[in-house]
């Protein structure tokens, strides 16, 4: 079987399906945890993987494994073709203008670090300002802090309301002649808020300020069109969107990426090397030093195919239904308070229970086979802003069901039984 045949097979459109048949595509969902049937509600931490993604990794290593952009031999050509084919799939997934604007990296964290180091080093000076939001993941805070320490630039923060909405009037006031970049999360991992990034980008562009969007939590839940958003940079992680760990994407406008210095030096990112001078390769190779996660890129391509096969229409309708059902069921539990109640939300439900710490909730639910996330969710500033040490978070993907939401509610009743 050639790689071409594999990729044709993976892009075949699937008919719309019900959730039971979708679940059958995810082997792990048939498994058990702590002796009970697994109820996996930690999708915002990492999603489970469909058979098509697992097979893409396995098939690459079993049939086509070779390094890319190297050999004249057949296997290397097949691997290169498949890797660049995956780039094309991600270009279409994000509606980027050119496949060269898709850089394969380890994930969102590395993508943001790349922009902070490369763009930041070339563009930031003492007194410059970078605007972040109050609901950023640590991965969209710390790289900027490191750059600020090196350059003397400063961080300003868009505040948020108690319900978890960014205050765009305050954002307008933060935009000044000092502003050099805005970096903002598309969907909050701890609150579920879908931010109005198109409006944020338009406001920043009025002042000629580029915008980086952290799309890690947005990519699994709905269509992204970087040209319609007019995003300058857009970062995502494969493992949050049914793909493998260790692979992700930085989208950047070609003009910006072209002007930026390399992030890492090494093989594959050069045109010619002498000890006196090195000429760098054009995009995207300039930012892909060393042998990349080839199988991971193919797996991510398969994940994108799988999402397209189901259709966003089906996924969004199913996940909104889960969000509505879980919100309704959890709100009915005495002593439980939802955290993050913005009108536009992805299928993420954070909550606290009076008198019970999130970590204890997590342990008790685990005994029922229910996997949720507890803690600060790598968003300590959000917890501080809301005056909470931690929350419990259930997050839903396209394969979760009403029954699993009901199992969560039943598990929370057990929490109340234990704590009286």
């Amino acid at each position: 079987m050639t790689v071409r045949q594999v990729s044709t097979q993976l892009t075949t459109a699937r008919p719309k399906r019900d959730v039971a048949t979708v679940r059958a595509d995810f082997p792990v969902l048939a498994g058990r945890a702590t002796g009970k049937r697994l109820v996996y509600l930690d999708d915002a931490a990492t999603s489970q993987k469909p058979r098509a993604v697992i097979d893409a990794l396995s098939q690459f290593y079993s049939l086509d494994n070779a390094n890319i952009h190297r050999g004249v031999h057949e296997l290397s050509q097949r691997a290169t073709l498949a890797y660049e084919g995956a780039r094309g799939k991600l270009q279409r997934f994000l509606n980027a203008a050119d496949p060269h604007e898709i850089i394969f990296l380890r994930g969102t964290t590395e993508a943001i670090n790349l922009v902070a180091c490369s763009w930041g080093r070339a563009n930031l000076r003492a007194g410059d300002e970078i605007i972040l939001s109050a609901m950023e993941h640590h991965s969209n805070i710390v790289p900027w802090q490191i750059m600020c320490e090196m350059t003397g630039a400063r961080i300003r923060v868009i505040p948020m309301t108690d319900s978890g909405e960014l205050e765009l009037d305050a954002f307008r006031r933060l935009l000044t002649d000092h502003t050099k970049l805005v970096a903002v999360v598309h969907v909050s991992n701890s609150l579920g808020t879908i931010n109005r990034v198109k409006e944020i980008i338009a406001l920043a562009h009025e002042r000629g300020v580029p915008v980086l969007v952290d799309g890690a939590q947005a990519a699994p839940h709905g269509p992204i069109d970087v040209q319609d958003l007019d995003a300058d940079f857009y970062a995502l992680s494969g493992h949050k969107m049914l793909g493998p760990t260790g692979i992700g994407v930085l989208y950047g406008k070609a003009a910006l990426l072209d002007a930026m210095p390399p992030y890492q030096g090494g093989g594959d990112m050069i045109r010619s090397v002498t000890f006196e001078k090195t000429m760098y390769a054009p995009l995207p190779a300039k930012f892909e030093a060393g042998t990349p996660h080839i199988a991971g890129a193919l797996g991510l391509g398969a994940a994108v195919d799988y999402l397209r096969g189901l259709s966003w229409e089906w996924i969004q309708s199913h996940e909104q239904d889960l969000l509505e059902h879980s919100t309704e069921v959890l709100q009915g539990i005495p002593g439980l308070r939802l955290v993050g109640t913005a009108p536009e939300k992805a299928s993420v439900v954070s909550f606290v229970i009076e008198g019970v710490h999130a970590h204890d909730i997590g342990t008790i639910l685990d005994q029922e086979g229910i996997a949720i996330r507890t803690g600060h969710h790598c968003t300590q500033p959000v917890m501080k802003r809301l005056g909470l040490p931690a929350t419990a978070r259930a997050s839903f993907a396209l394969y979760n069901t009403h029954e699993e939401v009901d199992a969560l509610a039943e598990g929370i009743r057990k929490v109340r039984e234990v704590f009286g």
């Binding site: 702590t34 002796g35 008198g355 019970v356 710490h357 999130a358 970590h359 204890d360 342990t363 008790i364 005994q367 507890t374 803690g375 600060h376 917890m383 040490p389 931690a390 234990v418 704590f419 009286g420």
Partner: protein, 150 residues
């Protein structure tokens, strides 16, 4: 199969609801802070050490039931003890919560601290039980520092 009733014994729930010695000591001469970044547990421990004796002890902080109950039980257990006695308790407690689920550690000197033995069956929660004790160790051995259980 781990048993939740073993983990959340009545005495643990009681010390979580009504922690003993939950106060700042204005005349403390040893303090230390402990955090568990994974789940956000944090405590500040205050000691008044007179000669070799822990004359008074208090703590403040927030966290899960296990971390709070452990801090409360620990402060009750070490008040009035010598530093060596407290250190011996630290080692005995550490052995209790890190022993395998089927081990039978020596609990003769532990008193009420035995209530936390159920933690052994929940590896993810051992750090919660240990936080107060590591913070005590820091307060007694150092000039007052920070402990972070990664």
């Amino acid at each position: 199969m781990p048993d939740l009733r073993e983990l959340y014994q009545q005495i643990v729930l009681d010390h979580n609801r009504s922690p003993r010695n939950f106060k700042r000591l204005p005349d403390a001469n040893r303090t230390a802070e402990g955090t568990n970044p994974l789940c956000g547990d944090e405590i500040t421990l205050y000691l008044r050490v007179e000669g070799d004796i822990i004359a008074d002890v208090g703590f403040q902080g927030s966290g899960c039931a296990i971390s709070q109950a452990s801090a409360s039980l620990m402060t009750s257990a070490i008040k009035g003890k010598s530093k060596d006695e407290a250190d011996a308790l630290f080692r005995a407690f550490h052995a209790l919560v890190t022993a395998g689920p089927d081990a039978k550690p020596d609990t003769t000197q532990l008193g009420k601290l035995v209530a936390l033995a159920g933690v052994r069956q929940f590896p993810a929660r051992v750090k919660c039980a240990n936080l107060a004790w590591h913070t005590l160790h820091e307060a007694l051995s150092g000039a007052g520092g920070r402990v972070s259980l990664e």
